[in-house]
């Protein structure tokens, strides 16, 4: 009886064992679960809009100007390098649109308007596909090639720092709120706009926009633009929030890294994303004179992009005294009025903010 039971058990046991799925199926199911897990995480982390508690501190324009250390290199000349070939072939020429406007009766000799008088018009607005000039603003866009990278250089002169602005997607500060660079630019009447620091993808990084402090959590290098027009890049270890607030910060971005060290090109950076990539970056010559650089990349046969070392050297060659890398890659987009200037990688992506130049006095 006992032996018969044992034999019976042996004959039944294999049938009671759960059927094993083939190994490829097991691997496939695990991979699907991993993919699903990552997508669900990305939905919560990137896509779903979330309110962020802001510092809510409005930073008024200071009555006294901050002390600016002398720039290592300062140039007001048109920033073109001799070794580079300028090409405007891809930018269709258009007839200049001119609009008459009343001229200013008097000019403060210390103002940027007087300082850059040769860049501004007497009130006439000149607008082409590569240029915008008015009594308060001058922007020139050039397409250039450097090695195997195509980049766009927007040279900017302005008469007031409040023309250098930034804007949020949907006009609201928050996580997961994104929009196309062009749409944000058009909504804000931007003349020139570029992808910002994509603050909305992180919980960290100083965020000061248009004179308002939104986030005061430090993260790596910071770019600060002051009300007096000076711009500085600050390493995280040297950052002092009280100082920049006291000195009148108008904007602050957190992406980085900084690209010039005391006006000198750098070879090591506070970033691990050094390979060739599309880039967007801001350069500073002197108060009132800035540049946007947009490098196209990841497009074989057209432009491979730039390393941070190459980008740093480019800003040095341009004569900038400070420069800072903003969100590049697929985010790197430059717009001029209602047109995208560059060729974004995979048509670009929606992001949370832009930097832009406006000319409020002119319609």
């Amino acid at each position: 009886m006992g032996r018969a039971d044992h034999q019976n058990k042996e004959s039944i046991q294999p049938e009671n064992k759960p059927r094993l799925l083939p190994l490829p199926w097991v691997i496939l199911i695990d991979l699907v679960l991993i993919g699903a897990g990552l997508i669900v995480f990305a939905m919560f982390h990137h896509v779903m809009p979330r309110d962020i508690q802001t510092s809510g501190l409005s930073l008024p324009r200071p009555t006294t100007t901050r002390t600016v250390t002398p720039d290592v290199t300062t140039s007001t000349a048109s920033p073109t390098t001799a070794s580079e070939s300028q090409s405007t072939a891809t930018m269709a020429s258009s007839q200049a649109e001119t609009t008459s406007a009343p001229t200013e009766p008097s000019l403060d000799p210390d103002s940027w308007q007087a300082k850059f008088a040769d860049q501004f018009t007497d009130g006439t607005v000149i607008r082409t596909d590569q240029e915008y000039r008015s009594a308060n603003l001058a922007i020139t866009i050039q397409q250039q090639k450097r090695g195997d990278a195509v980049y766009y250089l927007a040279d900017i002169y302005m008469s007031d720092i409040e023309q250098f602005r930034s804007a949020f997607a949907a006009g609201v500060y928050g996580r997961g709120l994104t929009d196309d660079v062009l749409d944000i630019a058009v909504e804000n009447d931007a003349i020139l706009a570029m992808s910002g620091d994509y603050y909305g993808i992180r919980d960290q990084g100083i965020v000061i926009r248009n004179g308002e402090l939104y986030r005061d959590v430090l993260f790596d290098d910071v770019l600060v633009l002051y009300y007096d027009g000076s711009m500085e890049t600050v390493e995280a270890k040297a950052f002092d929030m009280d100082r920049i607030l006291t000195e009148g910060a108008w904007q602050a971005w957190s992406f980085g890294p900084m690209l010039l060290d005391q006006g000198e090109p750098m070879t090591t950076f506070n970033s691990r994303v050094n390979p060739d990539n599309p880039r967007s970056a801001v350069g500073y010559y002197e108060p009132g004179h800035y540049c946007f650089v947009l490098v196209d990349g990841r497009q074989a046969g057209y432009s491979s992009g730039m390393t941070l070392t190459e980008l740093s050297q480019l800003f040095f060659d341009l004569g900038c005294s400070a420069a800072y890398n903003l969100d590049g890659g697929q985010s790197a987009i430059l717009t001029f009025f209602d047109q995208v200037v560059n060729q974004p990688y995979k048509d670009g992506r929606k992001i949370s903010d832009i930097v832009y130049i406006a000319d409020p006095g002119t319609d």
Partner: protein, 66 residues
């Protein structure tokens, strides 16, 4: 059932964690992982151990089921 599913869930979780650790390594701005380097190293080791352990357990289960 739970005994069979658990190592697979550990495997999925550990690979997801490794993905975040790698992304965070190249782009710290994502800030998936904390800023403490020692903690990050231990987390990486722990994740790798869980990964190896879960694969091992899955293999053992399959072998014993045959």
């Amino acid at each position: 059932m739970i005994r069979r599913a658990l190592p697979h869930l550990c495997l999925v979780g550990s690979i997801m964690m490794l993905t975040f650790i790698v992304i965070d390594f190249f782009n710290r701005a994502m800030h998936f992982i904390g800023g403490n380097e020692v903690f990050n190293t231990f987390l990486l080791i722990f994740t790798l151990l869980v990964l190896v352990s879960s694969i091992w357990t899955i293999c053992d289960h399959r072998r014993s089921q045959r």
